[in-house]
């Protein structure tokens, strides 16, 4: 999940997952909200950064519930109120038969909610972030592991963070964004 970026950020590039995880441990929680950019999902990161589980599950559940109620409701309205038809003496409110479309409606609602919800959570329609300007940052999608921490206003603190990152094995560090 992309947080809103307000100021300059200190970026560090790592060649391996282990080096990046080591750096996260070395930084501890005194450097604000740390962001990672990795080519694949690294399950260990969530725990170390103290991330809460994503809200996407609840969004999907809500979408599914809406789809379920809508699908059942449409059939109930059409078959019981708008166009009542006697089909071989079966009840107008034929719950077992309604359930098929209700199921499909639930899946549709959950899928749409997941798709749209994920885009919104990821910051869509924001198409650009300062990190994109860094030369070689695209390798975060290939074979490099990046950490971003909010760059500190205090010169000394920033230098100490920089030193910690290099000590942990950072290939290089860059400051981006801000004024």
């Amino acid at each position: 999940m992309r947080r809103e970026s307000h100021g300059p950020e200190l970026l560090a590039e790592f060649g391996t997952v282990d080096a990046m995880l080591h750096a996260i441990d070395a930084l501890g929680d005194s450097y604000g909200e740390i962001e990672t950019y990795t080519p694949y999902d690294v399950p260990d990161v969530d725990g170390r950064l103290g991330l809460r589980p994503s809200r996407i599950g609840w969004i999907a559940a809500f979408g599914g519930l809406c789809g379920m109620v809508t699908a059942y409701g449409i059939q109930w309205w059409a078959d019981v109120h708008a166009y009542p038809l006697n089909v071989g003496g079966r009840p107008l409110h034929a719950a077992p038969a309604f359930l098929l479309v209700t199921f499909e409606g639930t899946v549709l609602g959950a899928a749409l909610a997941t798709f749209i919800g994920l885009l919104l959570l990821l910051g869509f329609p924001k198409l650009w972030a300062p990190v994109d300007e860094v030369e070689g940052f695209d390798r975060a999608a290939i074979d490099r592991f990046w950490i971003a921490i909010p760059a500190l206003a205090n010169e000394n603190d920033r230098e100490r963070a920089d030193a910690l990152l290099h000590e942990a094995g950072a290939l290089r560090t860059v400051v981006v964004g801000g004024a």
Partner: protein, 373 residues
């Protein structure tokens, strides 16, 4: 003799004595109760055999943590083959088609046309074939597993390809035998009625109950990744069971043909209807909602509790499949139901424990924490 084995044997002996008394007092009730108990246990054990073979065919690495447990359950098959005897001897007492003259006139004609399939000698021959297929495949799979363990211990080449070939063939014959046995042993209790999805329903229920048993018995040393694999399968097969159960119900409900609805008429009304609703809620609604949570799927104790609920629901579901044939008007619990469960479960547990000996139920590599998800 291990403690598990003595407990199982004790239960089997007590159950067998009670059953003997029951056969003298109320033979039909006793034998039908026995069929219910036997089907309950057998479907679980066959589920374990199918799970083992599925994991060999798909090369599932997560399964290694549960393989010892599943193969220990499969070890009950020879004992179960012997325990089928009372059903084979009591065919005439259990199944209405064996004595056509006692059937109501409306259904007699339909059942007479099925006589080429539903007659006592052919029924017994088929039953022996099913039992032979399960026992032989089960024993082959177990032996192959021990060979592979030995090869692994000696660090020789990987033997998985050989197990996958055996399992692919085994899945087909075991699946067919299970389908036909469910038609023969359970569906023919209502001889005029049929449902083509019935075999899958019985399989789905047994497989889900077996996963529940694994969740209950899983060694505490198993990590969250493996626990979550069982949790996901429990959720999947709870949904699968509900899907199959609903398909059968919907097709029969919407067609509303007299010869088909009879089966549901006794099972969806009165006290049997209450049981049907309890099973639908306890086997699908509650586990479905509980198992959606990722944290709960990774929590072995929570899974064990859900497993216990699912096992109870399996017993109730098989009861609901079998017993309305004897008591169509409503639930009529008998002490023989409990005695039969005691006898069959005890016998199966004793058989499996005897085969298991003193080997632990947790896989060696799991105990040292080597196996990843």
């Amino acid at each position: 003799m291990t403690r598990t084995m003595s407990v199982g044997l004790g239960a089997a002996i007590v159950g067998a004595i009670l059953m003997l008394v029951g056969v003298i007092l109320e033979p039909r009730q006793a034998l039908t109760s026995y069929l219910f108990a036997y089907a309950t246990v057998l479907t679980i054990v066959l589920g374990a055999l199918i799970l083992v073979m599925l994991s060999y065919v798909s090369g599932a690495a997560w399964f290694t943590a549960f393989s010892d447990l599943a193969l220990a359950i499969v070890g009950a098959l020879p004992a179960l083959a012997v325990l089928a005897l009372p059903i084979l001897i009591g065919v005439k007492k259990i199944y209405p088609w064996a004595t056509i003259a006692t059937l109501p006139v409306e259904t007699r004609g339909v059942v007479e046309r099925k006589e080429a399939w539903l007659n006592v000698p052919f029924f017994v021959v088929r039953a022996l074939i099913y039992l032979a297929v399960w026992t032989i495949v089960g024993e082959l799979v177990r032996r192959r597993w021990f060979d592979m363990e030995r090869a692994r211990a000696a660090e020789s080449s990987d033997l998985r390809p050989r197990a996958s070939g055996l399992s692919a063939g085994g899945l087909i014959v075991v699946g067919l035998a299970l389908t036909f046995a469910s038609f023969d042993w359970l569906m023919s209790l209502d001889p005029a009625w049929y449902s083509t999805v019935y075999g899958v329903y019985v399989f789905a229920g047994g497989f889900l109950a077996m996963l529940a048993l694994v969740a209950v018995m899983a060694p505490r040393s198993i990590g969250p990744e493996q626990t979550s694999a069982i949790g996901k399968l429990l959720l999947t097969f709870s949904i699968f069971w509900a899907y199959i159960a609903f398909s059968q119900y919907l097709i029969i409900w919407i067609a509303d043909v007299p010869s088909e609805v009879t089966w549901y008429l006794s099972r969806a009304r009165g006290s049997w209807g209450v049981i049907a609703i309890v099973v639908a809620i306890g086997r699908f609604v509650i586990p479905f909602v509980l198992l959606l949570s990722r944290a709960r799927k990774r929590n072995a104790r929570a899974l064990a509790a859900i497993g216990a609920l699912l096992l109870a629901m399996h017993v109730l579901d098989v009861y609901w499949l079998v017993m309305p044939a004897l008591h169509p008007a409503g639930v009529q619990p008998s002490w023989l139901d409990a005695a039969a469960l005691l006898a069959v479960t005890g016998g199966a547990v004793a058989g499996a424990a005897w085969r298991q000996g003193r080997r632990p139920l947790a896989h060696v590599s799991t105990r040292s924490g080597e196996v990843a998800s």
